[in-house]
């Protein structure tokens, strides 16, 4: 994954982005986008719409994971200050 895909979350310190990026299950991301986007096996090469779908899926999932990561961190720090 390149930096472009992570650019959706401005204002997040670089080390947090890197940490979140390493937590994301890349295998799961790949499998999900493959399963959701690729259904046609009459050709060996990926078709244009499959490529587009996979790109959007991956970007979307990364942005989603970043957002989840933010909320996760908020809840984590709330939990730490309770008790």
């Amino acid at each position: 994954m390149d930096k472009n895909m992570l650019a959706g979350l401005e204002g997040l310190p670089e080390e947090d982005k890197a940490r979140m990026s390493s937590m994301i299950d890349h295998l799961q991301l790949r499998d999900r986008c493959f399963n959701d986007c690729v259904d046609n096996f009459t050709r060996k090469a990926l078709q244009k719409q499959e490529e587009t779908c996979v790109m959007r899926c991956a970007e979307k999932f990364l942005k989603h994971s970043m957002r989840v990561g933010l909320r996760f961190a908020e809840l984590n720090s709330q939990a730490a200050t309770q008790d």
């Binding site: 959706g8 937590m23 994301i24 299950d25 799961q28 999900r32 959701d36 986007c37 779908c53 790109m55 959007r56 899926c57 970007e59 979307k60 999932f61 942005k63 989603h64 994971s65 957002r67 989840v68 990561g69 909320r71 996760f72 809840l75 939990a79």
Partner: protein, 68 residues
């Protein structure tokens, strides 16, 4: 942080992300951006998942007796 605690956190994060993606995001991938509805859904989903996780954690550490 102990290694198993860290592993637990990472696992929790990934399951949470997967679950809320399934619940909230349109699989047709018409665009690469998350829309406002999806963003709200994600925030709420994370919050609820977290609460459920806490509840279950408490139930299990209390010896399996459900809280009234």
């Amino acid at each position: 942080m102990a290694e198993t605690e860290m592993e637990y956190r990472v696992e929790l994060f990934n399951r949470l992300a997967q679950t809320c993606f399934n619940k909230c995001v349109d699989k047709r991938y018409k665009e690469s951006e998350l829309n406002m509805g999806e963003n709200s859904c994600i925030d709420r989903c994370v919050s609820k998942y977290w609460q459920v996780n806490s509840m279950i954690g408490q139930m299990l550490s209390a010896g399996g007796r459900p809280p009234m």
